[in-house]
């Protein structure tokens, strides 16, 4: 078996049966396979947390498109992660209303408490910090998402509460 063949056999076993079923379901809605590209990326990311090179190649092969083309799509969208992220992603709103209400100071506070900047992940792999466009909660500014939870009316005390005593953090809208 030469190298090229080997890569191919490997790629065929990358995606789980469950992932393939979910991708097939999306394929039934689209007239050609590459039309399900973003959905497939999301499906694979859902369980694995991010899209590795190997996942990317496997999806591309399954959708009969080039890995380069899929890479162009994957890197375009900011909720597709091409690098490993923490268990919870902090999507920090740095748009205009949150800025007026002091989000720069809150961002600094997060960096002080967690020791990470934008694009970084804590050493214990719990949190990654990523800026996000206006979260549509400007009347409760400053705001951010921690995992699936929206956290509003941020101030330094709330950041301390969320991240220094993790056991206390129950999530949810505050």
């Amino acid at each position: 078996m030469n190298d090229a063949q080997m890569i191919h056999t490997d790629l065929d076993s990358v995606l789980s049966a469950e992932e393939l079923t979910a991708i097939d379901r999306e394929l039934s809605h689209v007239p050609y396979k590459s039309g399900a590209a973003i959905d497939a990326l999301k499906i694979v990311q859902a369980k694995r947390g991010w899209i590795s090179d190997q996942s990317l190649q496997a999806i591309a092969k399954y959708l009969e498109m080039s890995a380069e083309e899929l890479e162009g799509i994957a890197t375009f969208y900011n909720l597709i992660y091409r690098r490993p992220v923490g268990k919870k992603v902090i999507l920090f709103c740095d748009s205009v209303s949150c800025w007026i209400c002091g989000c720069d100071g809150i961002k600094q506070k997060i960096t002080d408490v967690l020791g990470i900047n934008y694009g970084e992940t804590t050493e214990d792999k719990e949190y990654s910090l990523i800026p996000v466009p206006c979260l549509g909660a400007c009347d409760k500014a400053p705001v951010m998402m921690v995992g699936d939870d929206l956290v509003t009316h941020l101030d330094d005390a709330k950041i301390d509460e969320l991240f220094t005593d993790k056991a206390k953090y129950s999530g949810g809208n505050t």
């Binding site: 748009s95 007026i100 720069d104 400007c138 699936d148």
Partner: protein, 431 residues
């Protein structure tokens, strides 16, 4: 005032389920249409209601729909109705509320809109961060399929429709309707050239209508109660009610349903409770981050599309962002331009290269490294990037709106930065 869009939204913000929605007149509009109105009848009612799109541009909805080829004029195949629930405009926060609290209102509006244009497939394209709204819409869709409001032969009629919730993978540009269509097709979300317009050739090359969440939420009420009723709701030129919002340092930031044409002063001073203690209003963006600044001289204007347009701005999303007298206008514009530069899809040069250039000049000014010529440079950029037609879509011209009006109203602030060698506001480390 009669509540229309928020009739099912209580102070507790609890989502309305199918039973509660039906109990308050829900799906009555749909029953009425399927029992006796043709698609053409429905379109005529929407046209006569003078409903204008709530996504930002204010395009008349009935007219938009009239470009969709109907019956024999349409080649066989699918037609699509897409709800634009991408809501990422900085400072916009109205669609979230409508979807989280009353998902069926949107769905009924979409079923009726699909019926009117003859669509058989519909998507709710929603930003991925709206986790609660996505779940509630999915729950509501399941209720609809069970109750026969979606699927084959809806309520025993010949009309069939499938509806899907499609969470986006991110990026502001996906809200531009042709970029949205590319995203739905699994591609990079670059806007498409127009023509052809989506009404004729949109998703997968088929006729497609893209409407904003709030626009679609109006439809069932108009069909149920008629165009005349809708026309009486506004207190100014435009018809209906509107979700208006205020963010920034006011006492009671929030989002309220009010008559179209409500004076800006009433929204800011009464509903938003006025400025926080010790702050004065310096200016405001009337409809999100890509609208021109207005100032206290404009407070008595009515929130109507043409009134705000004549004052030199746009009603946009109707969500007002307040600039107070202790927040740096240059810093605020820099924040906006940084956003737009970051969100540029990169397709055309004036936007891809021009917005980072504007950002650079503003960064220099804000940090006290600016020069007198910088103001000419900014004016040049506004003239070039801000001209519709020089760019492939409206993102870049929209980005220039707050900048050009800031140069007009707050020029002395720019000059104080340049000649004083630092930011006189020191907002950077506030909080």
């Amino acid at each position: 005032m009669e509540k229309v869009l928020t009739r099912n939204i209580g102070a507790d913000l609890k989502p309305t389920d199918l039973k509660a929605y039906e109990a308050n007149g829900g799906y009555r509009g749909l029953r009425k249409a399927l029992a006796g109105l043709s698609p053409k009848d429905c379109q005529d009612v929407i046209s006569a209601s003078n409903l204008r799109g709530r996504g930002g541009a204010g395009f008349p909805t009935g007219m938009k729909w009239s470009f969709v080829p109907m019956d024999d004029r349409c080649t066989p195949g699918h037609k699509y109705l897409v709800c634009n629930a991408d809501e990422m405009e900085p400072g916009a926060f109205k669609d979230r509320l409508l979807m989280e609290c009353d998902p069926h209102q949107l769905i009924e509006g979409m079923i009726l809109s699909a019926y009117t244009i003859g669509a058989d497939i519909s998507y709710i394209f929603i930003r991925g961060e709206y986790v609660a709204a996505i779940q509630r819409l999915r729950d509501a869709l399941a209720e609809c399929y069970n109750a026969g409001y979606l699927g084959d032969n809806i309520l025993g009629s010949t009309f069939s429709l499938n509806m899907y919730v499609h969470p986006s993978a991110g990026r502001y540009i996906c809200g531009e309707e042709t970029a949205l269509i590319n995203a739905l097709e699994g591609k990079r979300a670059n806007p498409r050239a127009k023509p052809p317009f989506p009404q004729v050739s949109g998703l997968w090359g088929r006729p497609t209508i893209v409407n904003n969440v709030e626009t679609l939420c109006n439809i069932s009420h108009i069909i149920d109660r008629g165009a005349d009723w809708f026309n009486t709701l506004g207190v100014g030129e435009d018809s209906g009610t509107k979700m208006f919002g205020v963010s920034g340092r006011v006492n009671n930031p929030g989002c309220w349903e009010l008559p179209m044409g409500t004076p800006i002063r009433e929204i800011i001073e009464h509903h938003a409770g006025g400025m926080q203690q010790g702050l004065q209003l310096k200016g405001f963006l009337p409809g999100g981050g890509s609208t021109d600044f207005l100032t206290d001289k404009h407070l008595d204007l009515a929130m109507d599309y043409n009134v705000i347009g004549k004052a030199g701005s746009r009603m946009g999303t109707g969500t007002i962002i307040i600039l107070d007298d202790q927040t740096c206008p240059v810093g605020m514009v820099l924040n906006l331009i940084r956003f737009f530069a970051h969100e540029s899809c990169g397709f055309c040069t004036p936007c891809r290269d021009g917005l980072p250039w504007s950002r650079q000049v503003l960064e220099d000014i804000e940090s006290g490294r600016g020069h007198a010529e910088d103001l000419d440079t900014l004016a040049y950029q506004v003239g070039y990037i801000g001209t519709i037609g020089n760019t492939h879509c409206a993102l870049a011209p929209g980005a220039m709106e707050p900048l050009q009006s800031a140069l007009k109203y707050f020029r002395d602030d720019f000059e104080r930065h340049i000649y004083g060698g630092c930011c006189p506001y020191n907002t950077a480390r506030r909080a």
